[in-house]
């Protein structure tokens, strides 16, 4: 489907903190169009003297939410754009965006499943769009989300994920906390490895559709791990994010 990709001026409708380093920016778009879950918007900042900085941010919301998109953005240390968004931008500000963009790392209900989603840190954002879309569409496609974060407080969307994982639609959410665990924690407390993947992905059968998103090192460990437990490489899609906040 060919359509021009133009910059448009979005308005920040709301800013909501998710975790200490992460905020969700709800944008009103004059030229909104439904996106495919997994896609992103490019966002551009321009100073008075013409200096520009541009980054890509995955859409967190489902395409079923019309007229607006939500971008959930982690504040990167010394991040020029994320720092501006977190520290300077306020609701009412206008921001240039372009999108939605992406055709490789996307999933919609008609693509079927089972679905194996693996997230590292803010890599959960595009996968959240997929899960929100799955819920909005009333899909029962068997799905697993394996979400790796440094600590309990870093689990972006945790309350909503807990709800989705308990709604009986066939989604199970598994967390692994790699740096610190709260007392009484009975979940995983280590980096993703083949044994963990075998346990979590096992019930999905031999050929789930896999989407892995996060920092490069996690993405590669997870992709290699899935290949090691027998998932065909053609069923694995990856999206690398830059190094995380701290």
């Amino acid at each position: 489907m060919n359509r021009p990709l133009q910059w448009q001026i979005a308005t920040i409708a709301a800013i909501r903190p998710e975790t200490p380093g992460v905020k969700t920016f709800t944008l009103d778009l004059p030229d909104w169009m439904p996106h495919r879950p997994g896609q992103h918007y490019d966002l551009r900042l321009r100073a008075v003297d013409g200096y520009e900085a541009q980054r890509s941010y995955s859409i967190a919301s489902a395409p079923e939410t019309k007229g607006q998109v939500q971008l959930t953005i982690e504040r990167i240390n010394d991040g020029e754009v994320s720092g501006f968004l977190h520290d300077v931008a306020v609701a009412g500000d206008r921001i240039e965006v372009r999108g939605p963009i992406g055709g490789y790392f996307v999933w919609e209900v008609p693509l079927g499943g089972p679905l194996m989603l693996i997230a590292g840190g803010s890599g959960v954002v595009p996968l959240m769009a997929m899960l929100r879309h799955r819920a909005a569409a009333g899909s029962q496609v068997p799905a697993r989300l394996l979400f790796s974060a440094r600590s309990y407080d870093d689990l972006i969307f945790r309350e909503e994920l807990d709800r989705l994982g308990a709604d009986g639609s066939g989604l199970e959410v598994v967390y692994t906390l790699t740096r610190s665990q709260p007392s009484g924690w009975r979940g995983y407390g280590r980096r993703i490895d083949p044994a963990m993947l075998a346990t979590v992905a096992g019930p999905l059968g031999r050929t789930p559709l896999c989407f892995i998103c996060g920092p490069t090192l996690l993405v590669e460990a997870a992709a290699n791990g899935l290949a090691e437990i027998g998932v065909p490489v053609s069923r694995i899609r990856t999206e690398r994010f830059g190094p995380s906040g701290s």
């Binding site: 990709l5 963009i101 992406g102 590669e220």
Partner: protein, 94 residues
């Protein structure tokens, strides 16, 4: 495909998804789901899966199998240089 923990350049590596917008502006269509073949090792990959080095004077896209340079993208005031000598072909789906 080994990942070395202390390699800063590899840690900052992204993939073809990161330049999807630039590809769209160049080709007028989504490119990340299109297949391309490495001229060096012959492996096929989707454009979205290529290793992307974006912290450079231009964007360098490398084959995930053998790391050979497949594409270079440089935006200049006079135009965009798109060097594809490292790719045997790109299959553009209708």
């Amino acid at each position: 495909m080994e990942a070395v923990d202390d390699d800063l350049n590899r840690a900052m590596m992204l993939d073809g998804n990161a330049v999807a917008g630039r590809f769209f502006a160049l080709f007028g269509a989504e490119m990340t789901a299109n297949l391309t073949e490495c001229a060096s090792c012959g492996q096929d990959h989707m454009m979205g899966a290529l290793h992307a080095f974006t912290h450079a004077p231009g964007v360098v896209l490398r084959c995930p199998s053998c790391e050979a340079v497949m594409f270079r993208l440089v935006e200049t005031p006079r135009g965009i240089y798109f060097d594809a000598r490292g790719a045997a072909f790109v299959r553009i789906e209708r």
